[in-house]
């Protein structure tokens, strides 16, 4: 039934995290590019924890014909009333806030990559002996 090889837990988690971080980076890029667009509202993705809770209850594919839902991207959500400073032309993007977010994403991505690297090293050590 289905794929015989299960993803290794930590790699799978790291992959999801990397995917989430790159979607967030895209959202930040959108906000920065539209920083001077009238009536544009800043957006953000929902927190990683929330998406993780959702993917834990993923539907199982019991038939090879089932369409996999695993590759569905994390949707970009409207950030709601959290933003401050709405200018007269209805734009609430704060460049400083977006750049801080971009820095955060970069840092987290670097951490994620390092974890994958070191886990891979440990893994290879146990395989090669």
């Amino acid at each position: 039934m289905g794929a015989a090889v299960q993803p290794i837990y930590l790699f799978d988690l790291a992959f999801q995290r990397a995917e989430w971080l790159s979607v967030r980076q895209t959202t930040v890029a959108e906000n920065v590019a539209n920083a001077n667009t009238p009536n544009f509202r800043a957006r953000d993705v929902e927190p990683f924890e929330a998406t993780l809770d959702k993917t834990a209850l993923k539907m199982a594919s019991t038939n090879p014909g089932h369409i996999s839902l695993a590759s569905a991207p994390v949707r970009a959500e409207v950030s709601g009333p959290r933003s401050f400073d709405i200018t007269s032309h209805g734009n609430d993007v704060s460049l400083e806030k977006e750049l801080i977010k971009a820095g955060e994403v970069s840092r987290d991505y670097s951490l994620n990559v390092s974890i994958v690297k070191s886990f891979h090293r440990m893994w290879m050590a146990s395989v090669k002996g």
Binding site: V28, A29, V32, A33, P73, L95, R121
Partner: protein
């Protein structure tokens, strides 16, 4: 579905393009700050304005930015008394462009700042891509 990191590069590139068009409009306004007409009573250069709008890119499902319209500022012209000027009307007044240096400078600084922010996003995305490639190299 395009890779999100590539999509963010694309979005940032659209932002860079929009901001450089804005810079072009500012420089046109500044360059023509003294451009009067050359027939009696003719209108001088009219200040240009630029507006942006967000546009959904179907391929990457992201909202890019594009130049919506380059319009003309309807503000009244400045008038100066100079009877010898070729554009002077019957009573000797010359119409000068409605370009305000202060506004153009502020606009230029804002365009500059947004351009820098877009560049920073490009830098971050590239860094993330090369980190991922490095995973392959070192193991």
């Amino acid at each position: 579905m395009i890779d999100p990191l590539t999509a963010s590069l694309r979005v940032a590139a659209a932002g860079l393009e929009a901001q450089s068009t804005r810079m072009r409009v500012v420089s046109e306004n500044l360059a023509n700050a003294q451009s009067t007409g050359n027939t009696p009573g003719a209108d001088p250069y009219q200040r240009k304005t630029i507006t942006f709008s967000s546009e959904l890119d179907r391929a990457s499902e992201t909202s890019l930015v594009k130049v919506d319209r380059i319009g003309r500022d309807k503000a009244p012209f400045k008038v100066e008394y100079d009877p010898d000027h070729p554009a002077a009307d019957d009573s000797g007044f010359v119409k000068l462009p409605n370009v305000n240096m202060l506004i153009e400078m502020a606009d230029m600084r804002e365009a500059n700042r947004s351009y820098e922010a877009d560049l920073q996003i490009v830098r971050h995305s590239r860094q993330m891509i090369s980190m991922t490639i490095d995973l392959l190299r070192n193991s």
